[in-house]
Amino acid sequence: MSVLVFVEGLNGEIKKSSLEAATYGSQVAQAMGTSATAVAIGDVNEDALARLGEQGISKVLYDADDRLKQFVADAYVKVIAKAAQQENAKVLVFSNSNIGAAVGSKLAVRLNGSLATNVTELPKMDGGNFIVTRGVFSGKAFADVNLTSDVKIIAVKKNSTDITSNAGNTATVEKLSADLTDAEFAAAPKETVMQDTSGGVLLQEAEIVVSGGRGMKGPENWHLIEELAKELGAATACSKPVSDIGWRPHHEHVGQTGITVSPNLYIAAGISGAIQHLAGVNSSKVIVVINKDPEAPFFKAADYGIVGDALEVLPKLIEAAKALDK
């Protein structure tokens, strides 16, 4: 019996959200008195896999099939199912990414397991229960869910686990082959287009997010958001009205019907804080709100507030950020 963690690679390295999943999985394994194995697919180099020992992973199973460099759900499911069977895994851990949650859902069917996505806490195991806490109502609440099947599958919410790193610990890397056939590649993507993130930070994985609303007065002022984000190593985001009127692309929209983020720091410029927007950001650790209306509801959810015109306040923040020792 063991805990199996699925790790995702990008450009040879392991995604931050997968290092969080590896940490989570190792902690579950420790609580259960067993070991944690990782399964990796595709675009990741073996050195990076061995370094998963720092997160407490003892063994990594790696399927190096070139066809797996892009995400193909049915093929990924087959590889992970084989690893789960080989390791007799009773707990499977994923990152709550589009890939992790998709593969987790399919495996729940294939392995007849219980699945919880968007999980924020380690499981509580007592009296035969296995209870995890997950975010529900789009960030407005949490639910404790008992996973009742023999096999438990957990997709861990991003930025909810502090990554451990015990320097020097390495995992052994073993090859895994799942004998994939053409059938698993029937719905393979024809084309993958990555956004230009050169110098930018992926919104879903960002530790700092700088976000703008209608108070920015127009897309021509977005250079202020971008400049502050660049100084702080942050991702940029926007409110729903801003993406609806086309000032910014939809994939930057943060809120109940957009992306939910939980960074360490969320800076909101010219966003009033409608309940739907708050739902998407309220698990951020620290929130800074800049708004010219002192009655803006967002101030009630903020840690730091500045009443003022975003276009006048942001240059002051940029200047102060430039003066920080990096």
Binding site: A102, S105, K106, T257, V286, G305, L317
Partner: protein, 246 residues
């Protein structure tokens, strides 16, 4: 082309969320219910495809009788008929089994739904249905077009980019913006919706695989520290020295 669109009945996005009975149950008191906003993208796109290519759109809800006003609303927006599986949607696995049973019987070319419901935020049902039926599931898609009568071309979001996928019918897809502009019902739609068929069926004997045992709400912030706009740069120092997030 026969399209099945699955919709959830969820609290309006402006709802304040509360719990009753020692935090064991969701408090429906004073809550307005709407069609899950993500499902509206699936519904509208299905209607657009029907208008362009012919066929039918069936709406499916796994839920109790109080969902019927929103099922009628979906019919008013332009679906042709509706099915309600008369059951409390216990968890994603349970719901996926109900959808699969209906989908197998109906022989649909396309099964569409939103990427997740805004109440339980599972992001699970579409992939489970695809797996249970043994057909592709493309999620979360923000573009859906027909290439020819038997092939669809979708664009789906991945972290940091997108993928273009072509699949043969039948398939499952989940929708998100900007797939289309969700429609609101017009008066004619509302009138005709009253007489469109809404069939109520009993659930299959599927079991749930998880139990919701308790709810809680995020901790409230202890209070906001205000900084004068003239000295706005101070906040950067506070973020480093006090909050320690920079």
């Amino acid at each position: 082309m026969k399209i099945l669109v699955c919709i959830s009945n969820v609290p309006d996005t402006t709802s304040k969320i509360n719990f009753t009975g020692d935090n064991k149950n969701f408090d429906k008191n004073g809550v307005q219910y709407v069609i899950n906003p993500w499902d509206e993208y699936a519904l509208t796109r299905a209607i657009e495809l029907k208008e362009a290519k012919g066929g039918s759109v069936t709406v499916l809800n796994v839920g109790e009788a109080d969902a019927e006003p929103n099922i009628r609303k979906a019919l008013a927006i332009g679906a042709d008929d509706a099915i309600r599986v008369n059951a409390h949607p216990k968890d994603a696995y349970f719901v996926a089994q109900q959808i699969t049973a209906i989908a197998k019987e109906g022989g649909y070319d396309m099964i569409l739904m939103g990427k997740e419901s805004i109440d339980y935020n599972g992001f699970q049902v579409h992939n489970m249905v695809g797996e249970m039926m043994g057909i592709p599931s493309v999620t979360p898609a923000f573009k859906l077009d027909m290439v020819d009568d038997s092939t669809a071309r979708l664009e789906r979001e991945i972290e940091g980019g997108k993928e273009v996928v072509e699949v043969k019918l039948p398939f499952v897809a989940s929708a998100q913006q900007p797939m289309c502009e969700p429609r609101i019902p017009n008066m004619r739609g509302i009138m005709t919706a009253r007489t469109k068929p809404l069939k109520v069926v009993e659930p299959t004997g599927a079991e749930a695989k998880s139990e919701y045992v308790n709810y809680s709400k995020p901790e409230k912030k202890s209070g906001v520290k205000m900084i004068d706009a003239e000295n706005a740069g101070e906040v950067i120092k506070l973020l480093r020295n006090e909050a320690k997030v920079l």
